[in-house]
């Protein structure tokens, strides 16, 4: 039989993607409520996703905005 923590690990990505069935979600949450080892790793994964997202969050250079606006078709 699969270990409860191994099973929880397999549910990590679909849990964060919110694509688990209701039954699987409840299984994961019941385990997370009593297992700090897994819940730390779930929190870490959610944090990691935020870090990945913010790694590309740098604003677009202002001169690029101007260059894009200049590509518009001139009005006659």
């Amino acid at each position: 039989m699969i270990d409860a923590c191994d099973h929880c690990e397999q549910l990590l990505q679909p849990y964060l993607d919110r694509v688990l069935s209701e039954e699987e979600r409840l299984t994961a949450e019941a385990h997370l409520a009593e297992c700090a080892w897994c819940s730390n790793r779930y929190r870490f994964e959610a944090d990691l996703r935020q870090i990945v997202k913010s790694s590309c969050a740098g604003a677009m250079p202002p001169d690029l905005k101007q260059k894009l606006a200049a590509l518009r078709t001139p009005l006659l």
């Binding site: 397999q10 994964e45 990945v52 740098g58 677009m60 009005l75």
Partner: protein, 194 residues
């Protein structure tokens, strides 16, 4: 003015209005388009070039956009196709890397490298923003495209499938592999740091 000339005039004016609206809406999305471009290519300069090419093409072919559909997805479809056209991905079959490490792999590695049990926040602190950018660059492109669209661009699996013109099942399997590959790359970078 004849009736024909008048109706032609109205048609032309209507088309100009539609085009201006299209261009304005497209420009409003430029920050989001740039963010995805930044994740897809290796440098800021490349991202800027790619975004300019995308907008030049979008403004030329604005008539092929169906009003009321997802303009952001339409723009990103142009962007991802241009990125492929640039020949960036010759010989780019996704490397079927083994997936023997599970999803806890990176956390375990980071904690092991500290040599003592850590709080979750302390594990996160062992990651640097630069390492994340580097690691993302090292993920094979076909996987990275999906990861960037879903995890950075916030697109649904369905939208990512349409943008990249691949089946939704492929989106899901590539995303799974991309996240694992990213963590493997991050482990290599973060764990070696003294």
């Amino acid at each position: 003015m004849s009736d024909t000339a008048e109706s032609d005039g109205r048609r032309i004016a209507g088309e100009a209005r539609d085009r201006v609206r299209f261009e304005e809406e497209a420009l409003e999305l430029a920050d989001q388009v740039f963010r995805v471009a930044r994740g897809l290519v290796n440098s800021r300069e490349e991202a800027e070039d790619l975004v300019q090419e995308t907008y030049a093409r979008a403004f030329r072919s604005w008539r092929s956009f169906t009003p009321g559909t997802n303009l952001r997805a339409w723009l990103l479809r142009i962007l991802t196709n241009l990125n492929i056209d640039r020949g960036r991905r010759r010989q780019r079959n996704p490397d079927p890397q083994p997936l023997e490490e599970g999803d806890y792999f990176l956390y375990n590695k980071l904690e092991q490298s500290a040599g003592r049990p850590l709080e979750e926040e302390q594990v996160v602190e062992r990651l640097s923003q630069n390492d994340v950018v580097d690691a993302l660059t090292a993920v094979p492109h076909d996987f990275r495209d999906v990861l960037v669209l879903v995890d950075i661009g916030d697109f649904s699996y369905q939208d990512a499938a349409q943008i990249l013109d691949i089946p939704i099942g492929t989106v899901m399997s590539r995303l799974h592999r991309a996240r694992r590959a990213l963590k493997r790359e991050l482990a290599e970078r973060s764990v070696e740091t003294p």
